[in-house]
């Protein structure tokens, strides 16, 4: 774990260092320039009365102006061009790391709300937070340097005055921390309500809900929920307001008293009563103090913002400290496997999802030989999809082992292992990238024609403006191609096929197809999988009849297995299920 974090830290330093160094340097320079113009120059002018000529002053003004011009040009370049580019590089490398990490994390964690929320925050916000942190850091440098310069130059390190400058900053930070914590608390309390109201607002705006809104009275529910959530938000806000006002006013009072009474009166006293500071200096000082007031509260604000940001950065750290248990590549003695040679065996496998009470799979034993075509059937919730997910190592079994060619799949390198399977998930997804990438992913295509013929997607590719290079959906590209549900399913099937893996896993591959398309699909699939091992899940039993072995699942157990004929002869669960489906068809034919 240390090693991995170390890599991130190293990488972050490499990307962040130039930006941070430049920010530090420029903020020190900027603070000095501001000091030069706002304090030094004025003091110089006022003290020159009677000593220097007006033309001398003009010369000084011109010199200061030139300095100002040079520095501001550099700033303009940095702020408009260089910083945004550097920030993009930071975003690029940090975000890619987070993506990669997210995709490797155990899917099981997605059921954990806390993890899920954190992951969302990290994926969506951490980038901007890191850049925000750099900017706040820059501001802090600026305000600290300004404060130091004013303090040292004007007050010549008078202890009393320095204390008067520092004390309000410290007190402001302390009070501010209380307020920060309360605000954080408040935002946590409000998040629930905000999410709720955003959700219900979406119900009104989104097309997918538009029919319900018109045909039912769901609007009444929305209205009720929305106003409930706003009332709740109002009362949360009210709860926090009076203490916040009190804290604000206290902060201001400390500041105002320290600056005005502590510093202004002190230096004025020195000048008016003791006569130890000259009158012009006092005027510059008081003007500077008014500014100091601003600077010191700004410095306190920056420290507080830093504190606030660190609360979120903790999220990132906690997230990146998680260790995946499935997709790991740095573990020693992991086996490599290149072909599927013999068989897949489930030995006494049980599984339960993180949040569920009962086992979804119970003591499952099964064997799938190389080249077999097997089918998993059963009612809703019987555990078919879960079984496939275990085989694909989306989850690891709670008990028992799964072996491939005699090797526990946990001991095989995951990236290597998944190359064995061409998969079409029940919830397959297409991405808004090209057909080529959707189907071949990171591989170079070489058998497009076969593929088009086998899956019947030639028509789709042909009508698309750039063939295989066409983007799926018009989301980013006017020339992209929108697909119907059935067509999407074919592309997903093509993806499984294009992988040229030894084992095909298909979960409900025909759910979006009409009967004729379905029939075609099954025909071509048998052809495609001729030399492969095939594992298929289907509701429609007509599609599994030719399987070498059918496993019938019920409540997480395999209750029957065998060929269609064997199972029918058994007159058990399978034949019951088959008859229900067949009966209606048979009756329909008796006309």
């Amino acid at each position: 774990m240390k090693k991995r974090n170390g890599r991130l830290v190293k990488k972050s330093i490499k990307v962040l260092f130039p930006r941070v160094a430049l920010t530090t340097l420029m903020n020190v320079v900027n603070a000095c320039v501001a000091f030069l113009v706002q304090i030094w120059l004025l003091k110089y002018i006022l003290n020159s009365v009677g000593k220097h000529s007006f033309s001398h002053i003009l010369l000084v003004l011109a010199i200061v102006f030139v300095i100002r011009l040079i520095i501001s040009s550099i700033n303009a370049y940095l702020n408009t061009t260089l910083y945004p580019c550097m920030d993009n590089s930071i975003r690029k490398s940090f975000q890619s790391y987070v993506f990669d990490f997210t995709a490797k994390s155990d899917i099981e964690l997605y059921d954990n709300q806390e993890f899920f929320d954190r992951m969302h925050r990290v994926v969506f916000q951490s980038n901007e937070r890191i850049i925000g942190l750099v900017n706040i850091y820059g501001n802090l440098i600026y305000s600290t340097v300004s404060l130091l310069l004013i303090g040292l130059y004007l007050f010549k390190a008078s202890i009393i005055l320095l204390v008067m400058i520092i004390v309000p900053v410290v007190i402001n930070v302390l009070i501010g921390r209380i307020k920060n914590r309360r605000n954080y608390q408040k935002s946590l309390e409000l998040t629930g309500e905000t999410r709720k109201s955003e959700y219900f607002k979406r119900v009104i705006y989104q097309k997918k809900h538009a029919k319900d809104v018109r045909v039912t009275n769901i609007v009444g529910v929305v209205r009720k929920m929305l106003s409930g959530s706003i009332d709740q938000s109002i009362s949360i806000t009210k709860n926090y307001s009076s203490t916040n006002v009190f804290l604000d006013v206290t902060k201001k009072a400390v500041n105002s008293i320290a600056i005005n009474i502590g510093i202004v009166l002190y230096v004025a006293y020195k000048s008016m009563v003791e006569d130890s500071i000259n009158g012009t200096d006092v005027i510059v000082m008081i003007r500077a103090i008014w500014q100091l007031n601003e600077n010191s509260s700004r410095m306190a604000d920056n420290i507080l913002q830093l504190h606030e940001q660190s609360l979120y950065i903790r999220d990132v750290k906690m997230f990146l400290n998680l260790r995946p248990s499935i997709n790991i590549s740095d573990k020693k003695d992991q086996k490599e496997i290149s072909r599927f040679n013999n068989d897949i065996v489930f030995e006494n496998v049980s599984f339960k999802y993180r949040n569920s009470k009962e086992n979804v799979l119970k003591n499952v034993d099964l064997r799938i030989g190389k080249g077999q075509k097997i089918a998993l059937v059963g009612t809703n919730g019987s555990g078919k999809t879960t079984l496939v997910k275990l085989l694909l190592r989306l989850y690891d079994p709670s008990e028992g082992v799964i072996k491939i060619d005699g090797e526990d799949i946990k001991n095989i390198n995951y990236l290597n292992y998944r190359q064995l399977f061409g998969v079409e998930l029940q919830a397959y997804r297409l991405f808004a990238i090209s057909f080529k990438e959707n189907i071949y992913i990171d591989k170079t295509p070489h058998n497009e024609q076969d593929l088009c013929n086998a899956i019947g997607i030639g028509g789709i590719i042909q009508r698309s403006s750039h063939g295989f290079e066409t983007n799926v959906t018009k989301e980013f590209d006017e020339t992209g191609e929108n697909l119907s549900g059935g067509e999407e399913q074919k592309i997903a099937l093509a993806r499984a096929y294009a992988k040229e893996a030894d084992i095909m896993v298909l979960d409900e591959p025909s759910s979006a197809l009409d009967p004729i398309a379905e029939n075609e699909m099954f025909k071509s699939m048998m052809e495609i999988c001729k030399d492969k091992t095939l594992i298929m899940i289907s509701h429609r039993l007509s599609s599994v009849l030719d399987s070498d072995c059918i496993f019938m699942l019920e409540n997480g157990e395999i209750v029957e297995m065998g060929t269609h004929d064997e199972l029918m002869n058994m007159s058990g669960k399978y034949s019951e299920l088959f008859d229900v489906q067949a009966k209606s068809y048979i009756e329909g034919l008796k006309v």
């Binding site: 120059l41 002018i45 020159s48 009365v49 002053i57 003009l58 003004l61 011109a62 102006f65 303009a76 408009t80 061009t81 890619s96 993506f99 995709a103 969506f124 709720k196 959700y199 009104i204 029919k211 045909v215 009275n217 529910v221 209205r223 706003i230 938000s233 307001s241 009076s242 006002v245 105002s256 005005n260 004025a268 008016m272 005027i283 510059v284 003007r287 919730g381 694909l392 998944r418 998930l425 919830a427 397959y428 990238i433 990438e437 989301e475 980013f476 119907s484 059935g486 993806r495 009967p515 029939n519 007509s542 269609h564 088959f578 229900v580 489906q581 067949a582 209606s584 048979i586 006309v591």
Partner: protein, 593 residues
């Protein structure tokens, strides 16, 4: 945006704010004006008094009084400001939100369904409504900034009058030229932003793929992460190219912007004041300082206002969008006949229909008659127009030609809301909502708990495991219960059972049920809905054998119609489709027997 539009939008904005929440509007203006006036008073006038007291070596005690006054004024002002920011502003903006939301909901829930197809109207108007409440509050804040600025500047004028009116002129000069440069700069930024938009969109798309659980499995099973990350990195590289391309102009204008401000303030104003200090000797050191402070004060206010100008424009644009949304006139409007609750006789007569923004007719000379109390099944291949028939019957769209009659009356003559809600409907793409199970079934109608329980029991829904008051979770993931596809569908079907309408539309009601449940569901539906008019849409033909009459649709017309028996004997398309589905079962059955 032309100037006339700007004026119109801002007037509209102010009018809206004043009408929707007058208290919020006026209190914001008063609080900000107060802050502007008092800050100027402290930072300019009190500063002057303090400095003059010191310079003229007046009694120290009068200085003490002055300073105590400063402290008192600063703290009191903070009290008001903080009360406004912590209490008044958040509470009132929530109230404003509520008012606006209510109006928008009212309109959005009745606006023509086709507005959702009009991607321009939808993206431009509907989606921006989501930000409307925020934009109103933001606008009010900006109006506050203006109130503060105007009062703050006006308050400083008497001082300039006394010292030198030129100073005000200088500041104005600086700000006006500043605004001109800023406008140029904004244009450049906008152009840069426009060329970045596609990249920004693409990257946020990729971001969501990694964050949403729907994609989690696909990302693990295949090597999509590397492909997506590759795209992601490329996009950032392209973004940096864009930044560099637009760099020169933007840098140039940024330098100009600084130049204008520095020339005027640091060269001209300081020079001018020094001239008075050194040559004419009309200024004392204290007044020199105060004059400079006043100039900077005014410049800050003006800059602040100028910076917020663009934001005000942007926000007022939202308001005009809300306005055009509110003013949208529906084309699908109801008549005044109240539909008789009950069992409908439905007839499509020579109907022509194409979807908005589409060239092709989905229905062509389409006629269909479903008699009162009949169970009608509509079948056909994907894309034959089955769901369109449901959309038309519910008047989500109006037809181009022909007429649809319910109980002999053109459906356009019925009261729209009452008419639509007189159907019981199970949509193909039904939704569950993040409310309790009971509310999910009632959907805003209050129903007897017993009725709901009975309906669920009939559907074999496991009420022991999931009670009526359990929260159902949907897309906004929270602690609610996640239901399987089958359970969700039972809820959708239960809605129709509980509602107990005389006419029911079932669009693929059993698509995610297993065979057992499917046949059970079908027989329950038929039994419970005996005597009612039912329109089934399905591509699974076992469902349709239960129907009294079947309509086979192809290319927007009814090709075959009749009972299952009649259609089978006709040996047409229906029989062909049926045989394909049935053949495998039959083959095996035959072997068995």
């Amino acid at each position: 945006m032309r100037n006339k539009d700007v004026v119109r939008n801002v007037t509209q904005l102010i009018g809206t704010l004043r009408r929707k929440n007058p208290f919020f509007f006026w209190s914001t203006i008063i609080v900000y004006a107060l802050i502007g006036g008092v800050s100027t008073y402290v930072n300019v006038y009190l500063l002057m008094k303090v400095l003059l007291t010191i310079e003229r070596k007046e009694a120290f005690s009068s200085l003490v009084y002055l300073i105590i006054l400063v402290v008192f004024v600063e703290i009191s002002l903070k009290l008001i400001e903080s009360y406004y920011l912590n209490r008044m502003h958040p509470v009132q903006s929530l109230k404003l939100k509520q008012t606006i939301n209510n109006e928008i909901i009212e309109k959005a829930s009745t606006i023509d369904y086709k507005c959702y197809d009009d991607s321009k109207f939808y993206d431009d108007i509907m989606l921006s409504l989501e930000k409307s409440d925020e934009s109103l509050t933001n606008s009010l804040d900006i109006i506050g900034v203006y109130a503060k600025g105007i009062v703050g500047i006006v308050a400083v004028i008497p001082l300039f009058d006394e010292i030198s009116p030129f100073l005000l002129l200088f500041v104005l000069l600086s700000v006006v030229t500043g605004i001109i440069v800023q406008k140029k700069l904004n244009k450049c930024y906008y152009e840069r932003y426009l060329s970045m938009v596609p990249y920004i969109k693409r990257n946020s798309y990729i971001m969501t793929r990694f964050a949403f659980w729907e994609y989690s499995e696909e990302l693990r099973i295949n090597n999509f992460p590397s492909v997506l990350i590759k795209h992601f990195k490329n996009t950032y590289q392209n973004m940096n190219k864009v930044i560099k391309q637009h760099g020169r102009k933007i840098i140039l204008y940024s330098i100009c912007k600084g130049l204008v401000s520095y020339i005027v303030i640091e060269l001209i104003v300081v020079g001018y004041l020094s001239y008075n200090l050194f040559v004419t000797k009309t200024l004392s050191a204290a007044v020199f300082m105060v004059a400079l402070a006043a100039v900077l004060n005014v410049k800050d206010y003006l800059n602040n206002m100028a910076e917020n100008y663009e934001k005000l424009m942007e926000n007022s644009l939202y308001v005009s969008k809300i306005q055009s949304f509110m003013n949208y006139e529906n084309t699908v409007v109801g008549g005044d006949i109240h539909p008789q609750e009950g069992v409908y006789d439905i007839e499509f007569k020579h109907v022509y229909f194409k979807y908005p923004f589409s060239e092709n007719y989905v229905l062509k000379d389409f006629s269909l008659h479903i008699r009162k109390g009949e169970k009608a099944a509509i079948v056909g291949l994907n894309g034959a127009g089955k769901t369109t028939i449901v959309n038309l019957l519910l008047r989500l769209y109006d037809i181009q030609e022909g007429v649809i009659e319910v109980n002999g009356v053109d459906i356009k003559q019925y009261d729209l809301d009452e008419y639509r809600r007189s159907f019981g409907v199970v949509f193909q793409d039904f939704n569950l909502y993040s409310v309790s199970l009971e509310e999910n079934i009632e959907l805003g109608q209050s129903e007897d708990t017993q009725t709901i329980e009975n309906a669920l029991k009939k559907l074999e829904f496991d009420l022991e495991k999931i009670g009526l008051d359990s929260e159902i979770s949907s897309e906004f993931d929270d602690d609610g219960i996640k239901l399987s596809g089958g359970e969700s569908q039972k809820i959708a079907i239960a809605r129709a059972l509980v509602n107990d309408r005389g006419t029911n539309i079932l669009d693929e009601p059993s698509s995610s049920l297993d065979p057992f449940m499917e046949s059970k569901m079908n027989s329950i539906l038929c039994k419970e809905m005996e005597g009612k008019t039912i329109v089934f849409i399905s591509h699974r033909l076992t469902t349709t054998t239960l129907a009294d009459r079947i309509f086979y649709i192809e290319n927007g017309s009814v090709i075959e119609s009749g009972s299952h028996k009649e259609l089978m004997n006709k040996h047409g398309m229906y029989e062909k489709m049926y045989n394909i589905q049935a053949s495998k079962y039959i083959k095996k059955e035959c072997c068995q027997e």
